[in-house]
Amino acid sequence: MSATLTQQPLSHLDWLEAEAIHIMREVAGQCANPVLLFSGGKDSICMLRIAEKAFRPGKFPFPLMHIDTGHNYQEVVAFRDKRAAELGERLIVRSVEDSMKRGTVVLKHEGESRNKHQSVTLLEAIEEFGFDCCIGGARRDEEKARAKERIMSFRDEFGQWDPKNQRPELWNLYNARAHKGENIRAFPISNWTEMDVWQYIEREKLELPSIYFAHQRPVVIRGGAIVPVNVPLVSGELTNLPKAGEAIVELQVRFRTVGDISCTAPVESDADTVEKIVVETATTTITERGATRLDDQTSEASMEQRKKEGYF
């Protein structure tokens, strides 16, 4: 297997970036009306950099869209708006609260996580704008259920994902064809791990919402998890109030993901720079494996369920 190399291979980040650019351009080339989902989170921030590399000096051949649960961290929402403005790209925001007003989303109780209801609002937006492809920042290493997800994933007229009816994907020949009403979900960073994302952020010097870095925050410990409390919403109203009898403590934490406030838990950390997070991500994987193993089947099953219903 020793051979003289005719070219040095691309570094792993260059390879991943080139693949992601290729996928975005395939979407642009094959789909008539795509949209890029942008939440202000770290994965979608990487996606915007990839889109810049793919399409500049032109404009992006798609608008950006955020499905807002109304329960997002202020810092993330502000960052989302700022970043879209800097790029000069169109940002569409559709909110779960509007779906609630329309009656298409009904919460079981007030505190219920709105994360899973995003699918309803997303499908409504797809219909409103006639999008034929949604580009998302999901990665295969996020959950075991995603390990077999396609890069171009097919959804039927009801936005449903049928695990038995997915197209084989060979070489780099992506098939994003869809009939009217059907929809493709494209995942350009499928092959990236959390580590790759952090290394890319470091290399590209990407700006992130502040809550990704270690900061002091009032939390309670609930069922072994760190739960942020008294979190101000964009409106200024406080959410995630502590339950009676819970003791609030100040901890140094950072977020690894920044979704809906009701279901994103931070980790204890003193990593206040991207460099430190890269090292922490590498070294803590050993102990985190314990946590990964705790991954209960219900959460994975529910991921499959959500995908079937049209969620990412």
Binding site: W15, E19, P61, D141, A147
Partner: protein, 422 residues
Amino acid sequence: MTTHIEDHGLLRFLTCGSVDDGKSTLIGRLLYDTKAILADTLSAIEKTSQKRGLGAVDLSLLTDGLQAEREQGITIDVAYRYFSTGTRKYIIADAPGHEQYTRNMVTAASTANLAIILVDARKGVLTQTKRHSTLAHLVGIPHLLVAINKMDLVDYDQAVYEKIKADYLEFAARQGIEDVRFIPLSALNGDMVVERGEALAWYDGPTLIQILEAAPAAHTEHAEPFRFPVQYVCRPQDSANPELHDYRGFMGQVESGAIAVGDAVTVLPSGLSTTVKAVQLGGRDIGSAITEQSVTLLLADEIDVSRGDMIVKTDEAPTPVKQISATVCWLAETPMDRARTYLIRHTTREVKAKLAAIDHRLDVNTQEKLPAEKLAMNDIAQVQFKLAHPLFADPYKANRSTGAFIIIDESNNNTVGAGMIL
């Protein structure tokens, strides 16, 4: 405080084996034991002292997503797994080993540059081993590694290993499989995976991870001609900005070869020639590009170029073909209909195609060529297609990017076949 870490890029490999050969255990072992290496490589502050690997972890838990499926009997998919040593990133394509799923293996193999073929030391070379090897070879994976697993169950006996190796080499020679290596393992105990262990002292070759770290990445071993299928044309037409007013950027990924400013190029199918004015990434000049880079090319002359065209170097242009001979794997549950027209997608180009002839079918278990009238799911056959428009193709053996195509059924848009041009 960024320390410089060597980066050997990325390797995609495939794992195949029969049920219970230890594939999940081996993948789990790799994912688990390399975490310590990654931490060591990236931890600029302190070396981690964790002992690599733990005797009593159930490694298959790391991949149990697949196991649950297997119980339900719906394993029809390829799963992708990731690990990194810090100096190299790996993508494992894990194709279920079950008999009828040729198509999964072909799918998984299409992007792999190395295949690990697992053999249970107690069982030796089986029909399945031969089938997996035949498919890996057919799909052009340049490096095969036969991992003889469960050595602990045969007392780590060198004679068992040598016997299996000899049997395999005899088979490989008949099939024309050249680049094949062997390694004895115990995935369960971790011997020769990441750690050498003590029990296989008679084996003086590299460990599995050393082989993976040193294996060539795709497109690095032979000089290949420059091939640049155009994916998308960028025309900002920004009248406010005179610099962008006439900007026409041809966007794509270098499928093979290299390109630099000043190179003479020809655009296919028009056949018009010009030179490269600029090579850009994200609107910035980078001067040149190599295989697998996604870039934007600007040309010196105004030539009409659209998606589906291919830019090549003038002195190494492929010959356009309107009839192709190819090895095809049928992927769909509905057999191929000889009366119908299908769509062939080759690079970014789509052409209508009709089956002209089936030369023969390949029995992947016996490696025999048999006459065939039809193509059903999991069949592999050598066929002829007539094309409505020319393709700019290379033989698959010479170029895995421009030698490959997929077949699409336009009625439902499904990908129904995979082809490799002869």
